[in-house]
Structures are given as structure tokens and as C-alpha cells.
């Protein structure tokens, strides 16, 4: 199986408290923020690696994983990190962050799919900066491919994937014939979430995403990394979404501390009257 995984560099959400809004109010000030790969995209990469191996011998590649990002030169670090964890090849589409929106990213990926011809495109369900949650679905429509969003489990069948999706009422299982687009949720990196056609049914992965050992980090520097431009992929690319203003969420003030459960129930019954 050949899998295309799209990765986005985002400001580190674990340092989320440091997000500042520029005095003008029309931009988020990213100066001083640490960058990292969007966590949901890291999970997509982990799922792609699991789908192209047998679980027992991760070095034995049973397919190809191509990682792609859209962004400036610095984003190549994101790609190198993905190559170090096991991706085979990388593509960077040169663009500045402020020249991109979800519509353009989907159009650019559609064009790349045309040349790369993957069996599967795997993406995070959303990026934790824009929280837009649209690229996978848009891409599936542009390609006229089936989609399975918010995937918690993936099981490879002959020419298809059985995907367990996290939906409001529980888990909805879809069978999508390849080629397809799948976006992943948190639990896709659980020990028994992803099985390729070659993984033993009893196999359990370590929880979470894999880390690259030092020799792999060195070797990743020699793996192929191609560059394309946004204009090449989307001629006349123009934004259709513009942020006009940013603001902090309204603060909610701290209430009072109660001394015990009895006082708590008193307050809920007699002051807030919510019981």
C-alpha cells in the first residue's frame, strides 16, 4: 500500500498559554512559540507506518509512506522528523503560512495525489492552530474518493479499509474501498488500533507514536525530499478565508472554595438552584 500523509507545522499546543494576540488584534503573535508537528498529523503518520509493515519487523517496509507539508523552508524539519520515524520520501510545497487556507491546501493535495497516485491519503482530523477540520473532507470530494473522518481504528482488508469512526453516539464503522481519504482522531495510536493485512491479529503496538532512534535521524538526512511550489500545484492560488481579528476567550472568574460536600450541596441547591 502506498500512503500519502500530510503534515502541518503548528505552534506547540502544550505551550498554548503563551499564545499572544498582536496589539493590532489582527494576528496571533507566534514569536517565541515553539513549533511542532500537529499532533493529529503525527498520529496519521503513525497509522500510515503501521499500515505499511507487519508490526513485528518495522524495518521491513511493505509499502511506501510519502509525507508532504505546505510551508516555508523551515518546515523541512517537520518532514525530516517524519522521515526519521520511518516515512520513505518527503515533499515540501513552498508557500508562506499566510498564503494558505483549507481550500487551497486541499486543491494542492489533490494535484499531488494525481502525480503520486497513493492508495490512501491519511491526515489528522484537524490542525490544532486553525482547528478548521476541513482538508480531508474537501480532498475526498475533489478526488471523488470515499472518506472516513475521525478514525479511531483501521483494519486493512483486500482493497478496502474497515474504519471505526468516533461519532457523537458511539463508534460508527465504515468500509471504504481504496483509494480513500482517512482522517484520524486521538485513539488511532492505541496498541490495537491499526492492523495492516500483514499484522498478526494478536499483535499489540506500544501506546502512542514511535520515536526515531539517533541512527535513523542521521539516515533521514539522506532520504529524498522534493520541493514544489504552490503556484505549480494551484495556478492563481488566492485565499478565500481571511482572519480579520483575534481575541482572547472571555475570562470566567473564579468562584469560591467550599469546605466540604455538605456546603457544596447547600450552594448548588439554594444559591445556584441547579439541583
Amino acid at each position: 500500500m502506498k500512503v500519502l500523509v500530510s503534515l502541518k507545522r503548528v505552534s506547540d499546543p502544550d505551550n498554548a498559554n503563551k499564545i499572544k494576540i498582536a496589539a493590532s488584534g489582527n494576528a496571533v503573535d507566534t514569536a517565541g512559540l515553539e513549533w511542532k508537528t500537529n499532533p493529529f498529523d503525527e498520529y496519521a503518520l503513525e497509522a500510515a507506518l503501521r499500515l505499511t509493515e507487519n508490526g513485528k519487523a518495522p524495518k521491513l517496509r511493505l509499502g511506501e509512506v510519502v509525507v508532504v507539508t505546505l510551508g516555508p523552508k523551515e518546515c523541512e524539519q517537520t518532514l525530516r522528523a517524519a522521515l526519521a520515524t520511518g516515512a520513505d520520501r518527503a515533499i515540501r510545497v513552498d508557500a508562506t503560512d499566510d498564503a494558505l487556507d483549507g481550500r487551497l491546501v486541499a486543491l494542492a493535495l489533490k494535484n499531488l495525489v494525481g502525480t503520486e497516485k497513493p492508495d490512501l491519503v491519511l491526515l489528522g482530523k484537524q490542525a490544532v492552530d486553525g482547528d478548521s477540520n476541513q482538508v480531508g473532507q474537501r480532498l475526498a470530494e475533489l478526488l471523488d474518493w470515499p472518506q472516513a473522518t475521525f478514525a479511531a481504528t483501521i483494519r486493512e482488508e483486500a482493497g478496502a479499509l474497515l474504519v471505526g469512526r468516533e461519532v457523537d453516539g458511539g463508534v460508527l464503522t465504515l468500509r471504504v474501498k481504496l483509494p480513500a481519504v482517512v482522517t484520524v482522531d486521538l485513539r488511532i495510536v492505541s496498541p490495537t488500533s491499526v492492523y495492516s493485512a500483514h499484522t498478526e491479529a494478536a499483535h499489540k503496538y506500544a501506546e502512542g507514536v514511535r520515536f526515531a532512534p539517533l541512527p535513523a535521524i542521521m539516515a533521514a538526512k539522506k532520504k529524498p525530499l522534493d520541493t514544489k511550489t504552490l503556484a505549480e500545484l494551484v495556478p492563481g492560488a488566492a485565499l478565500s478565508t481571511r482572519a480579520l481579528k483575534f481575541e482572547k476567550p472571555a475570562a470566567r472568574s473564579a468562584g469560591i472554595k467550599v469546605k466540604d460536600v455538605s456546603e457544596l450541596v447547600d450552594k448548588l441547591m439554594n444559591v445556584s438552584k441547579v439541583l
Partner: protein, 324 residues
């Protein structure tokens, strides 16, 4: 003058999902900018009955597309018809449920329209619309403008009060199903494993009891009795879900469920920003945590600094005593 179109959602039992009424409120708020009226589109295997439920909300029309192939929702089957109907409107909106979030970006791509997802507000500026959206894991709200002729959006359910019936009876009109593309023949709904719980649904519950990682393997053992006593739904922090103590669809937060109950009880939850983004619109927030410095206390109306393994059973007992 093109108007707004609300895409309704039908529940498993064939009735209109209450969540749909948030998108109706969104459309009502937006309509001065888009010609003054809105219509509602209902799709499903037996959508006519559901359409009748929506005739009393002031829509110019309730459009119905009934077809056996629409009995089970898939984006591949729904998007072509929603886009075909939607292309004569300026705004197409659904509520940001898991179905709405799955469907509407696909509809947007079909219309080559820009998409504003999970909107907390819609602002009318003359004949322009602006969308206020939570971003950066809940650390900021961005106000965005979309520059395509048609806008596609989803409304965050907790930020829009359900529309109230306004009387009258909208005309109900059938629309044909649009033949889907090749994608539709390559997707199949295998099963829906509903969460087996006697508890109310998380996003619609009046009371939510939510637990963090501190509960460990005793997550349900500790929370169930309290949820029972309060008639509450059970939620979880991302940390508790990550650690495997609670299923993924229990997660409350910016990347999980967004809830706004009358009462939210956070137990052993420290209060990461991304969690707070999912519950801060709750009317009353209670926090129980043994760490007096936990950030959750900064937003809680009532904080109890205590060991949760003692405090939660004590609270359950107290509630049973006072409200038998």
C-alpha cells in the same frame, strides 16, 4: 436574493435531532445579511415525517429529499444533493455535530466555497457575514471573512440556543436526489456501536460529571454512582481518554465534545486550556481536586479541595440523603 439554507440532521429514531435547532438559530441570526429568510433541507430514508417537525420554525420552505439510499448517512451520498440545493443559496449551515463536521466541508468543496467550521457566533455587517471561530485549542477566537459567493458553515451547538417554534407552517417541498459520484459506491456503513449507557447524551445533558486521569482504573466505579444521583452524562478529560480510562467519545474539550450544561462537575481534572474550551459555557462549574493550585479552580464557581476518592462517594451519599 439568495438566502440561508439549514441542513437538518435526523436521529436514529427518525426524528429531527435537537442539535439542528442550533443551526436554525444561526441562520435566523445571519438572515438580515442574506435576503431576510432561510429554508431548511431534510435528507433521509423517511425524511417527510421529520420535515413536518420543522415546519413551525419560520422557514420560507422546508425542502425534503427522501430516498432509500439516504437512510443511513454517508457524506458521499448526502453531499451531492446538499450542494445542488445549496448552490442557489448564499449560506449553507449545519450544526457542528460529528455528522455536520463530516458532511459540510465536503459540500463546500463541491461548491468551491470557503468553509467556517464550529462557529461560536455569526456577525452581520450590512450584507456581509463574519464568522467567529475558536482556534488555537481554545486559546483564541478568530473572526474570519469568506470571499467565495457561497459560504458554508457549521454552528457550535453550545453557543446557539435551540430555536423556538415561531408558529405558522412552512410549505414542504420535495427535491430530487442528485446521483452521487463514484465515491458513494465505494463506501458502506457496517455498524453503529452505540455507547451502552443509561446516561443522557453528553452534548444534550442538563448535568455533566467529568473525570480526569486521577481516577485511574476506577474511573467508572467512582463516577457512575454520582452520575446516577445527578441524572448526569459522564465526560472525561483528554488525559483520561489518552490513558485509556474512558472511551474516546467521552472526551470533553476543543478537539472533543463541546458541552454547556446547567451544571458541570469536574473531578480530578486539572483544567488544561483545551479542556476548558469544551466546557466553559456551562452555567455552573464545580471542581473537585486535591491540588489547590489546579487551574480548574480559576474558572469554577464552587471548588472543593479534597481527595476525590473520598469526596465523590461522600457527595453521592449527601445528594441521596437530601434528594432521595
Amino acid at each position: 436574493m439568495p438566502h440561508a439554507l439549514v441542513v437538518a440532521e435526523i436521529a436514529e429514531d427518525g426524528k429531527v435531532k435537537k442539535a439542528t435547532l442550533a443551526a436554525v438559530s444561526f441562520a435566523k441570526k445571519a438572515r438580515p445579511a442574506v435576503g431576510g429568510s432561510f429554508s431548511i433541507l431534510v435528507l433521509g430514508g423517511s425524511a417527510r415525517a421529520a420535515a413536518a417537525e420543522l415546519a413551525g420554525y419560520g422557514a420560507a420552505k422546508v425542502l425534503v429529499c427522501e430516498d432509500p439510499s439516504l437512510a443511513k448517512y454517508t457524506a458521499e451520498h448526502y453531499a451531492p444533493t446538499v450542494a445542488e440545493v445549496g448552490k442557489t443559496f448564499s449560506l449553507v449551515v449545519a450544526t457542528a455535530t460529528s455528522e455536520g463536521k463530516d458532511l459540510m466541508p465536503r459540500v463546500a468543496a463541491r461548491l468551491d466555497a470557503a468553509y467556517a467550521g464550529d462557529c461560536a457566533d455569526v456577525l452581520v455587517d450590512g450584507t456581509s457575514l463574519r464568522y467567529k471561530r475558536p482556534m488555537y485549542a481554545g486559546n483564541a477566537f478568530g473572526t474570519v471573512e469568506l470571499t467565495t459567493p457561497i459560504h458554508v458553515a457549521t454552528a457550535r451547538q453550545s453557543e446557539f440556543d435551540p430555536a423556538a417554534p415561531s408558529g405558522g407552517s412552512s410549505p414542504i417541498e420535495a427535491v430530487p436526489k442528485v446521483a452521487p459520484g463514484a465515491a458513494a459506491s465505494r463506501v458502506e456503513v457496517v455498524s453503529l456501536e452505540a455507547v451502552k449507557s443509561e446516561r443522557p447524551e453528553l452534548t444534550e445533558a442538563r448535568v455533566v460529571v467529568s473525570g480526569g486521569r486521577a481516577l485511574k482504573e476506577q474511573f467508572f466505579q467512582v463516577l457512575e454512582p454520582l452520575a446516577q444521583a445527578l441524572g448526569a452524562a459522564i465526560g472525561a478529560s483528554r488525559a483520561a481518554v489518552d490513558a485509556g480510562y474512558a472511551p474516546g467519545d467521552y472526551q470533553v474539550g476543543q478537539t472533543g465534545k463541546i458541552v454547556a450544561p446547567e451544571l458541570y462537575v469536574a473531578i480530578g481534572i486539572s483544567g488544561a486550556i483545551q479542556h476548558i474550551a469544551g466546557m466553559k459555557s456551562s452555567k455552573v462549574i464545580v471542581a473537585i481536586n486535591k491540588d489547590a493550585e489546579a487551574p480548574i479552580f480559576q474558572i469554577a464557581d464552587y471548588g472543593l479541595v479534597a481527595d476525590l476518592f473520598q469526596a465523590v462517594p461522600a457527595l453521592t451519599a449527601e445528594l441521596k440523603k437530601r434528594k432521595p
